[in-house]
């Protein structure tokens, strides 16, 4: 169980947690709440190169499809295959339901702290 205060956040609503030199990426509670019941997840493959600011995969709710934007550039070492069969895990616990683990991180977009992200969401909602 991860404390939502721990990871950093992108403005496109992904969370990023450092695990040594590698990073783990998921989507925020606000993101899963806004998307609604998720029914499908598309993930990259192991060894894929991710580029900061580009889609690493997508999630689909009953109503719509949304890209997951990679907050870093780097190489995928692991994907959370459990999400492919059970996308509802993301709705149930978005901080446990990580998407990908990335190594050789080259570049990272400016990430927000949990408090800054809360502020950002409030502004976006207003």
């Amino acid at each position: 169980m991860i404390d939502p205060k721990e990871p950093k956040y992108s403005k496109s609503h992904e969370w990023v947690r450092y695990d040594g030199d590698d990073v783990v990426i998921g989507i925020s509670d606000y993101a899963q709440e806004s998307l609604g019941d998720l029914v499908f997840v598309n993930l990259p493959e192991v060894d894929d190169e991710l580029t900061v600011g580009e889609a690493l995969g997508d999630v689909e709710s009953v109503k719509a499809v949304s890209d997951i934007i990679s907050p870093v550039s780097g190489k995928v070492t692991e994907i959370n295959e459990a999400l492919l069969d059970s996308p509802e895990m993301i709705n149930e616990d978005p901080y446990d339901a990580w998407f990908v683990k990335v190594t050789d991180v080259q570049e990272t977009e400016d990430l927000l702290s949990a408090d800054e992200y809360d502020e950002f969401v409030k502004e976006e909602e207003a």
Binding site: G36, F40, V62, V65
Partner: protein, 364 residues
């Protein structure tokens, strides 16, 4: 600027996620989410605000003749209190809208049309009154609210708050002078979910009281307020076409699978010549069941043996069946139940199979 239904404040109070739809602002879902709302309707009951639907009154001595001319179904043998579904066609056989006609009495019909089409339909109907045809048309939409109580527990719920004489027993009939609680209502045994249930019409100002009363009566049965999201997945599972997706001004009702409501043997009606010319049908509707991985939505090309045979018109993940399904319009010659197809989902080919419609049919 979108209109608010008489239940706008109620939706906000119940946590509805409000979105624009068909010129109105309506809840796409409540806090429980689309999947739970969908399942509530399949297993217990759900309550929908469908006040955005339009109501057009048809009266005058030539009403029956007029309806038989402007609509594709045949209303000749209709009894009072009956409801009858019908497409409305243009001269090319395309679909202007689909609607429900209620007969309240001789020369007195109540026509319910799709929200976004209310003005279009009213104008179409007014401008297609044949010369010498004595009929009066009134767009009465703003005066009505409509709630849909849907699901297997609906009859038990309604029986708690309405006397038996206010509850229609037969599918596609209505009671026009009914009462729910002490509120005057039209109670119709119809719906858009594939389940048993009722559509209840009343004066717009009664909407909040009616909504609260039905939810309270349904509480012990597990009723949930439901939004447009669940309305869409439920109608798709039951393969009920949605105007604007599955048919439009360029798609004939026969192509869209609505041939049962097009009576080719009656006298002249708008679109008849074009429909006669399109026999056998060049294109037909078919079900698509995704066998690969992916969600197929509308406007995706469908391939068979490497060749485009048509496109999807509606599709998503269907909660009760627990899979990805779509409806498509394809070349009749390539339409074959059981045949494998591929669907182009944003550049990715997803394996699928042609299947019979509806995807879901309730057990009686």
């Amino acid at each position: 600027m979108e209109k608010k239904t008489p239940l706008y404040e109620t939706h906000v109070k119940y946590g509805g996620k409000m979105v624009p739809f068909g010129g109105f602002i309506l809840p796409v879902q409540y806090e429980t989410g689309i999947k739970k709302e969908h399942m509530a309707v399949r297993t217990a009951a759900g309550l929908f605000d469908v006040s955005h639907m339009g109501e057009i009154l048809v009266s005058g001595p030539d009403s029956l003749k007029y309806l038989n001319y402007v609509l594709t179904n045949d209303f000749t043998d209709m009894e009072d209190w009956q409801a009858r579904y019908s497409p409305m066609c243009n001269e090319n056989g395309g679909t202007v809208d689909d609607l429900i006609v209620y007969k309240r009495g001789d020369n007195d019909y109540f026509v319910v049309v799709n929200a976004a089409n209310t003005e279009k339909d009213y104008n179409w109907m007014c401008s297609h009154v044949p010369e010498g045809c004595d009929v009066k048309l009134v767009n009465d939409s703003d005066n009505w609210c409509q709630l849909a109580l849907q699901g297997p527990k609906s009859p038990e719920i309604l029986a708690k708050i309405a006397a038996p004489e206010s509850i229609p027993e037969v599918y596609y009939t209505a009671i026009f002078n009914g009462k729910v609680g002490d509120i005057d209502c039209v109670v119709s045994r119809t719906g858009y979910t594939g389940e048993d249930g009722f559509e209840i019409y009343s004066a717009a100002e009664n909407a909040p009281a009616l909504w609260e009363m039905i939810l309270k009566a349904g509480e012990e049965f597990g009723i949930l307020p439901c939004g447009l999201g669940a309305r869409d997945t439920l109608r798709m599972e039951a393969a009920m076409p949605l105007y604007g997706n599955d048919m439009d001004d360029t798609v004939s009702p026969k192509t869209a699978g609505l041939g049962f409501a097009v009576k080719m043997d009656k006298d002249d009606f708008i679109g008849k010549d074009a429909l006669v010319a399109d026999q056998p049908l060049a294109r037909r509707r078919v079900g698509i069941k995704v066998t690969g991985r992916g969600i197929v939505r509308e406007h995706c090309d469908v391939y068979r043996d490497g060749e485009v045979i048509g496109h999807t018109t509606s599709g998503t993940f269907l909660p009760y069946l627990g899979g990805s399904y779509a409806m498509a319009i394809v070349d009749s010659s390539k339409r074959e139940i059981g045949a494998p197809v591929q669907v182009d989902v944003r550049g990715r080919m997803v394996d699928a199979e042609q299947v019979k419609l509806p995807f879901y049919k309730r057990s009686k």
